[in-house]
Amino acid sequence: MKVIPFGKITDIITSETHFQIGFKTWFDLKEYLMMEYPGLQDESFMVAVNTTIHQADQNFDLSESDEVSLLPPFSGG
């Protein structure tokens, strides 16, 4: 499973990270990420699984081959 940080989240998870642990759901992965990267707790972001965007406070199933993107708000212009 691959986790890709975007925008400001790259300050916390600095690059694409592969996880060998098989997380069954987004909440499992999220709990692990929050523990591993405590800085995430202060950030707001959406989560995209492959190409579909979900809200980070909603749970859904994950599979081993999923690409999980963490998308914070962008406001620069």
Partner: protein
């Protein structure tokens, strides 16, 4: 030879599409990093009318990315300069200049006469304001935003059926300072230009009705690795906002997007008198009136905050002030990132609140 001959030669574009461009009125809010390339490209391609909204002046730090401006323009109103340059690029394009900042009270009268709106602003509150006003006024709008080496684009509220919008991504403003502007985070010069051109591309696609419009999709581009993603935006169940004009006009968007922790400090006087390591910092530029003469403070203009970071070493509590509370808020955001160990506040009422207070004690 027709000026747009090379467009007309394109089989799937042709004279018909060129006519559509010439018949369309486009409003660009913010003539900065994103607004410049949008304006330049659409002007060159021969759209009917470009509205330009910006209340800011050209600054030296704009020039590494905002290519409508040159060194002679520093200090001049952006919207007016942009209008002049655009007219000299293509006299066939009608230009309407609004040298104001957009806010909830003026947005409806400004967007009213335009067919499509482009958001080239750099603040989170203007994105919610433009989103809600465009929903209420039933206008499509093109969203673009950048962060350092990355940027994103989407087209919102295309029709009553295709009405995905910014609140489907983030239903409510981030209260944790998640979205910071270029003034705070920095931006690589070509990123807003690249993203701005992609925004102009969406405007043209919308006008001529071609396929591949980013409606319901969020395009993301990273210049370091050239990776591009296109995400599908789902209808967000938490997005129950169906704004009408009156509600938008009566919402204070700046306050809506202000982080809870930065709420007005009305006990700044108490902090300053009780804590010897507290300091009042005026972040206005040199020569701005009224001055804070006779009131203990430090004067560190916003433009040199970064290089004067060391001046804050001996303080643990910093209270920023400016004329109206907006630059001081920017200063707080900067300090949250750069001086995380300090307690930072700002005086929402600006220098007048301070002067009035001292007059009454």
């Amino acid at each position: 030879m027709n000026r747009y001959q090379r467009h007309i030669q394109l089989d799937d574009f042709g004279a018909e599409s060129q006519k559509k461009l010439a018949a369309t009125r486009i409003l660009v809010i913010g003539a900065g990093g994103l607004g410049c390339p949008v304006l330049m490209q659409l002007a060159a391609m021969g759209v009917g009318c470009l509205g330009i909204v910006d209340g800011d002046q050209v600054e030296l730090t704009n020039l590494h990315r905002q290519m409508l401006y040159n060194e002679k323009h520093i200090g001049l109103p952006k919207a007016e300069v942009a209008g002049e340059v655009i007219k000299s690029m293509n006299a066939e394009v009608k230009v309407e200049v609004f040298s104001v900042f957009i806010h909830e009270k003026n947005i409806f009268s400004i967007i009213e006469d335009f067919d499509i709106i482009v958001d080239g602003t750099d603040q989170i509150f203007t994105r919610y304001l433009i989103n809600d006003a465009c929903l209420a006024a039933k206008k499509p709008w093109v969203y673009g935003a950048v962060y350092q080496y990355e940027g994103q684009v989407s087209v919102f509220n295309v029709s009553a059926e295709e009405n995905r919008n910014y609140r489907d991504l983030f239903p409510e403003p981030d209260k944790n300072l998640g979205a910071v502007s270029c003034n705070v985070a920095g931006v690589f010069g070509l990123v807003p230009n690249l993203i701005g051109l992609l925004m102009a591309n969406e405007v043209v696609k919308w006008i001529v009705g071609s396929e591949g419009l980013l409606s319901g999709k969020l395009l993301h581009y990273h210049v370091k690795n050239n990776r591009q993603h296109i995400f599908n935006i789902q209808k967000n169940e938490n997005n129950n906002v169906a704004p009408d004009k009156k509600t938008v006009e009566n919402t204070d968007y700046i306050r809506l997007c202000r982080p809870d922790s930065l709420k007005r400090t009305n006990d700044w006087f108490k902090k300053l008198t009780e804590n010897p390591n507290a300091v009042l910092v005026d972040v206005r530029e040199k020569g701005e009136e009224p001055s804070l003469n006779n009131i203990p403070h430090k004067h560190i203009p916003m433009s040199v905050l970064e290089e004067n970071q060391k001046s804050f070493d001996r303080f643990d509590e910093i209270i920023f002030v400016c004329l109206s509370g907006s630059r001081s808020l920017q200063a707080v955001l900067w300090a949250k990132n750069n001086l995380p160990e300090k307690s930072v506040y700002h005086v929402e009422g600006g220098v007048f609140e301070i002067i009035e207070y001292y007059q009454n004690v």
